[in-house]
Every structure is written in C-alpha cells, then in structure tokens.
C-alpha cells in the first residue's frame, strides 16, 4: 500500500481586499453608546461625541442609547451608505462583547471587518470610575481619541484558505503513537508511523501487569498493535529515524531513514536462525533479564514479527543465511531514505526511565549493589516471559528475597538532580508491584519508603488501600542511603520514619528504585528538527497547559502521551486521542482558513540579522540562504513578538505596527489634542 499524495494547490483568498485602503482619505464614523445608564450616568456621552466630531477625518459623531440594538447597528450601516464612511469607531463595551457585532455589520456593507475599531468606555471607564465623573469624562475622551487615531490607519486584512495535505505522520509507536495513528486512520487519513526500535508498543509491552486493574498489558495492547499493523491506511516503518522536517501546518515535507533489518519481509518468524546463531548477549528489551542472539526478535509477540540482525554484534558466520528455509536473511540490505508529504505531525516519542546512578547514595549499578534494581527491571522479572519464570529473584544469588524495600521519588522531586516535578506514576506502579510481590510471597516483607503517596483518581486510592490490607508496609521518609556491609554483602536502607521520628535501618534483600520518567534519549535533536520548543525538564512543551495540552509550540505539530510529560497509560491514551482529533481536523476539512494578521517585512530596511526568527516561538520565520527572512503566513500566530527585536523596524505586524500604535499611545499619554 502506498499513500496517495494529494496535490497541494496554491492558497486562495476568501475575501476580496480593496487595494485602495492605502490611498483613500479616511472617513471615520464615531458612535458613542449610553448603554442605558451604564455609561451615560458616569460619562457625559454628548460631550464626548461632540469632542469626537472635532477630530480630524471624523465625518460623523453620534451618541445613542443602545448601539448594539438593531437601530444602533443600523446607524453604523447607514453612515457607510450615506456618508461614505470607511472606518468606524464605536465607544461602548469591550471588543469581546460587541466588537464582533459592529465588525460584522460593516462587513455586510462591503468593508473589511478589520476597519472597525472598538473603544471600551464601559469596562475600562464608566464602570470603574463611577465616583470620579470628571476624570472619567476626560478619560473617555482620551480613549475615544486614541480609537479614532487608531482607526485612521487601519488596514484591510485578508482571510485565506490554505489547502492541506491529507496525510499525517506519527513519530513513535508506543501506546500513544499507536492510538493516535489508529484514530486518524479511522477518520480516513493516511498515516505514516515511524518507530526507531525494531518493534512497536513501546514501554507498555514491557510491563508485567498494568494498574489499577492489574490487567496483562500484552492482552490489552495487542488488538491495537495488530489493528495498526494491518490497517490499510497506516504505513508502518520500524527501525526508522526522522532526518528532516520542512514546512508548516497543512503542508510538511518529512524525510526519514529506514535502517536495514537484514531480514526480508518474507521471514516467517520460525526462529531457526536465532536457534543456531552462535552469538548470545543480554536482551536490552528485557533489561538483561533474558538472553538474545545476534539475529533475534525482541520478544515473542513482537510486531512486526520479522526477525532482525544486530550488525554490531554479528560475527558474520553466515549460519543464519544458510539455515533460513525461506532465504529471508540478506546481508546486502541497505538503509533507505523516504520523503513524504503530510499535513499534520503527531509526536509520541514517549519517555525513558531515569538512570538512578546519578544519586550516588543509592549506589545503583555499582559493584556489590546488584540487588538494587529499578521498577522497570522488576516488571521484566515479573512478566510471564521472563528468564526467572515470573519469580522475583535477587540478581546477586538468584534467591527469593525475604525483604523488599522500594524507594520512591528517585530522580523526581529532587532539585539536586534538576528534576523538580513529581512523575505522578511511580507511586501507582510501586503500590501495584508491592502488592503483587506480597501476594506472591506472603512471607516476604515489602516496604515502600515514600515522601507522599500520590495515588489520586478513581480506583487508585483503592489500589493503595488493597496493598495496605495485604500487609505492604508504608514508611514515610526518603531513604538517605543504601549501605552495604562489605563483610557480608548485606544491604540496609537508612531512612527516618518521619511520622514517629525514628531513624531506621531496614534490612533489604532487594531494593527497588521507583525511578522517574524522563524525556527520551535523542529528544533534543528531534525537537530541533521539528522546530518545537521544550519545557525546562526537556519534554516537548505544549502550547497551553490548560487549553491546548496537545498542540506543540508550532502549528500542525501535536504531542501525544508521555513526550509532553509523565503520564500513565490511560492518560497517554486520552492525550493521544485529543492529539489525533486536533491533527485530523484540518486534514478532514481539506483546508485551513486563516486571517492574514501577520507581519510584513520591509526589505529595504531589513539587514538580514535574523533576530526576528530567534524570538518567534511558532517558528514562522524562515531565512533563505542569504539570511533574508520571510513570514510563513500559515504558521504565524500574530503575536507580534518579532517586532521589538528588529533593529530597523523592518518587520511590522499589520494593524499593530509601531506607527499605528504610536498614534494611539500619543492620545493616551496625554500628548493628544485635549492637553493642548
């Protein structure tokens, strides 16, 4: 299957723009609203209207009881028809409340809606200065004058339709990426799913059981993995890496490289090759809990099922080549580069488990401390396919531990290692695993040392309680260190039980560190290829934490799952669903409509310094090979941040230019007509 690439046509205008706006003489109509008594009881509306009438270019100045009423709106319309008014100013309530009403009115009369200027004399004046009528009056006049000044230079803003490419890219095939890819495909959008590992499913496939229901993750995820692998609209690329991304919302061009597996797709997954391969090494996927060969499949249920040869460790004995019944092994395979066009991108690159060796007092990874492991390793130990046969065995001597101590917040909530955040998931998985161990080995003491137990939400406190009920011991205190007796090799966890103020030494046959979830390896380069910003913790940053937690800083690029910050599976799935819906919307619609409220660049002034690009968060400014900037009209968010950094005032946001603002500022600073 190949995805049909739709031809992207040029953008098209939605509204007609009258080019005369630059040259014609402004004829301004001013309307002051009483708002019943709301404005009129504080502000002398007649006087204000009168004053407006005296300002240059004002051809009509009136006041009326309710400007938003039908007759009020009609007054505005009439002025256009009768007096040739080409810019309107209404001094009434806020832009949010009725600004749109009047803008729509003038649009109906054939004027561009951006020629209306709303002046807020209610919320900003009469309502807040009820006791100071004199000053309120003066202020209202100033506000109005500022509005008129602003109106004088208002320019037309066009709205454009931009065609979008009906295809999407998903980066990362963990649970979040799979969910997003599947959701979009179900909406009829062709999806390219790019995964860097040889298999899909991400961390979830490595877990033993998932909280809060203690379900088998393989069972819950396999309908989705199979669904994705077999979906006619999804093209899956494993062992693949993003090389380059260009373009913006609606039209991206993505280049990625697919590394060779050295096994062709006709592999039947019979396993003959691996069985005879002489090279054996610890499996990364299993965190060293099992062995794999140089030609291997990460785990039995792995998708794609095709085997892969690990070129680095292979000794090229050719056994596999010769033994394969279908001649699938092919050492001549080479990496392949593919370029695709997509309209939206969903990034679902997931997380990594924090490496606790940084916290030296816990001695993780040091000689003699083999029995200090992380929760992910414990998950692998417990899992049905593990080397230990799902038993919990001490790495040092293979015995079942009589006491297990779990340490919480390892690498989270820790200013010294630079991770201030609470991972929010580790309390839940520690409680889960503690309960599982206690159930398996009732004679084993299981202790969780915590600072706070954070198990909010439906079913999670219940999980916590169930762990308490079966005898998991909770100690409120963060262990200071794990000490090893050099004579006996015995480990002890030193902790204060803060609730009873007792310093304790806990004997521990096995110590399990609840390590934080941190940004995945390689996220830096990927982030810069995408031109999206990262949070201080290194995750990709959402556009707005409340209102848009799935959009990235750049339009058209969405975030799904833990790449935006730590989450559990349910949250990752929900997040991915939201990302998929938002990413799909413009593609399903086929176009995006955009007001061209964007900056223009005066190339006579521009000195190609590139400063505007550095502050533009949505990466809407492109520099060509000479360093000459141009504004990507689709990506621009109309923030105007590029303006003040420009040393030559070359870049100016339409209708918010320095020049236009100056006129308004003059009036409001007292430098206007009234003061003279």
């Amino acid at each position: 299957m190949t995805i049909k690439e739709e031809k992207v046509e040029k953008t098209e205008n939605v509204n007609e723009i009258s080019k005369e706006s630059d040259t014609e003489e402004p004829r301004i109509g001013v309307f002051v609203c009483h708002c019943g008594h709301n404005i009129a009881s504080t502000v002398d509306v007649a006087k204000v209207a009168n004053y407006a009438g005296s300002l240059p270019n004002v051809v009509k100045a009136e006041h009326y009881m309710f400007m938003c009423s039908k007759p009020g709106v009609q007054m505005v319309k009439d002025s256009i028809k009768e007096l040739g008014v080409n810019r309107t100013v209404v001094a009434s309530c806020s832009k949010n409340q009725h600004g749109k009403t009047f803008a729509r009115a003038i649009e109906e009369m054939g004027l561009n809606k951006h020629r209306h200027q709303q002046v807020n004399v209610r919320e900003y004046c009469s309502w807040v200065h009820q006791k100071e009528k004199e000053k309120a009056n003066q202020k209202a006049m100033q506000l109005l004058e500022a509005g008129v000044n602003r109106a004088r230079k208002l320019e037309d803003v066009e709205t454009r339709k931009v065609k979008t490419t009906k295809a999407a890219l998903v980066i990362g095939a963990g649970i979040a990426g799979l969910r997003a890819a599947h959701d979009m495909a179900e909406l009829g959008i062709p999806v390219y799913l790019v995964e860097k590992e040889s298999t899909i499913g991400g961390h979830m496939t490595r877990l033993n059981k998932t909280f809060p229901t203690l379900e088998c993750p393989q069972c819950s995820i396999s309908p989705l993995t199979n669904g994705v692998a077999n979906h006619p609209l999804i093209e899956l690329y494993t062992n693949a890496h993003i090389k380059n991304i260009e373009g913006s919302l609606g039209n991206f061009e993505v280049e990625f490289e697919i590394k060779p597996r050295y096994v062709k797709d006709n592999c039947t997954s019979c396993g003959e090759c691996a069985e005879h391969c002489p090279v054996e090494l610890p499996s990364e996927w299993d965190m060293g809990m099992s062995m794999r060969k140089a030609i291997y499949k990460a785990y039995p249920q792995a998708i794609p099922a095709t085997y892969i040869r690990d070129k680095k460790n292979c000794i090229e004995c050719n056994t596999c080549v010769n033994i394969c019944p279908v001649q699938a092994v092919d050492f001549s395979m080479e990496s392949e580069t593919k370029t695709v066009k997509v309209g939206s991108i969903v990034v679902a690159a997931g997380y990594d488990e924090y490496d606790p060796s940084e916290i030296e007092a816990y001695h993780y990874g040091q000689k003699g401390y083999e029995d200090v492991i992380t929760q992910l390793k414990l998950e692998r130990m417990l899992s049905p396919t593990s080397l230990t046969n799902s038993e919990v065995l001490r790495p040092s001597d293979g015995k079942i531990p009589k006491s297990v101590v779990m340490i919480q917040c390892v690498g989270s909530r820790n200013d010294q290692v630079g991770n201030e955040y609470c991972t929010g998931v580790c309390c839940k998985f520690a409680v889960k695993n503690a309960r599982i161990i206690k159930e398996m080995y009732p004679d084993t003491d299981v202790t969780i040392c915590y600072i706070d137990v954070r198990t909010p939400g439906l079913n999670f406190e219940e999980l916590y309680k169930s762990a308490q009920e079966i005898g998991v011991r909770f100690i409120r205190g963060r262990p200071s260190e794990i000490v090893r007796n050099p004579l006996t090799g015995e480990l002890r966890v030193i902790v204060e039980d803060t609730l009873s103020q007792t310093p304790l030494q806990l004997r521990a046959d096995l110590v399990v560190l609840s390590a934080a979830m941190v940004p995945p390896e390689g996220i830096g380069p990927l982030g810069s290829k995408l031109h999206v910003l990262r949070s201080k913790e290194g995750f990709l940053k959402e556009f707005h934490i409340k209102m848009n937690p799935t959009l990235s800083s750049k339009g058209g690029i969405f975030l799904a799952g833990t790449i935006q910050g730590p989450k559990d599976i349910s949250e990752s799935v929900a997040h991915a669903g939201s990302a998929a819906a938002l990413a799909a919307a413009p593609l399903v619609k086929g176009y995006i409509e955009k007001e061209m409220l964007i900056p223009t660049i005066d190339y006579d002034l521009c000195v190609n310094c590139g400063l505007c690009k550095t502050v533009c968060a949505p990466a809407a400014i492109d520099l060509d090979e000479n360093g000459t900037p141009s504004v990507n009209e689709v990506a621009c968010k109309s923030c105007g941040m590029c303006m003040p950094v420009c040393p030559t005032k070359a870049i100016q946001l339409i209708n918010f230019s320095d020049d236009q603002l100056l006129d308004e500022i003059i009036a409001l600073s007292g430098g206007g007509a009234i003061c003279e």
Binding site: E123, H129, C639, K649, S669
Partner: protein, 150 residues
C-alpha cells in the same frame, strides 16, 4: 492597599496618564472582568490592547513617556500561561533591562513595570493597577516625576 490611601493628594494630582499595555488574552480579560465587577481603580490608567506583551518594546514605552505618560506598564498572562508561548517572559526580560537602563540614566526604575493577571480575576488587574500607582507615587515622592527629570 491601605498604603494606597495614604498617598497624598498632591502627588496623586501629578499622576494623570499611565499607559498600560495589556495583552489580548489574560490582560484584556482581567480588565474586563474588573469592569464587570465595578472594581474601582485610579482613572489615570489608560489601557492599550496589544496582541501580546512580547510585542511591546522600548519604542512603545519611550513613545508613551515622551508623549507625557507618567509611567508605563505591561500586563500579560501568568508565567507559563502565555497564549503565545512565552511572550510574557520575553517582555519581563526586556522590562528588567529597561529598568536597569533607567536607573543608570538616573531615573527611577518604577516608571516602567511588568505584571501578570488572570482573565477570570478582576482583582489581579486591579491589584496590578494599584501597585503601579503606589510604586509611581513612591517614586515621585522620592525622586520626582519623569517630567521633572527631563
């Protein structure tokens, strides 16, 4: 707040125009909420609607002061909640530099300030306005108005 009341009338009379650039999101929102709730504040406050505080630079600030404003302030969204990603931080940084410059030139650094507000809470905007006036009044008391310094 209470200190606001002790500002003597004489100084208050000197404060006529304070230009406040408020962003289109939380800034405007909070000022509108304050209005709806009829929360009184100093009439000298003159609000300019801009897209984002990140749009305001020394040009606008100096334009205002040169044309007679007694002080200038920018009011944006809360840190981390900027609707244009990080415009408020950019502005904050810029205003910090401007304050430094003012000080070096021998002016009070209270003629320009940066604030945040929340759209749903008029109090935040009014609190900002009160603080602007208070700081300005103190500055005027100690060092005179910016016009005196000219």
């Amino acid at each position: 707040m209470s200190e606001c009341e002790v500002i003597d009338e004489e100084i208050k009379e000197k404060i006529q125009n304070i230009v406040v650039f408020m962003c289109n999101e939380c800034g405007q929102g909070s000022a509108n909420t304050a209005g709806v709730a009829r929360m009184a504040y100093e009439p000298a406050i003159r609000i300019v609607r801009v897209q984002c505080t990140g749009q305001i630079g020394p040009i606008q600030i100096m334009d205002a002061l040169n044309n007679g404003a007694d002080a200038v302030a920018c009011v944006g969204c809360c840190i981390g909640a900027c609707h244009f990603f990080n415009g408020n931080l950019l502005s904050m940084h810029r205003i910090k530099l401007m304050k430094k410059l003012f000080k070096e030139l021998g002016y009070s650094d209270q003629f320009v300030n940066q604030y945040t507000s929340r759209a749903a809470e008029g109090e935040t905007a009014v609190g900002d306005f009160e603080d602007i006036v208070e700081r300005l009044a103190t500055a005027i008391k100690e060092e005179g108005t910016i016009k005196d310094g000219c």
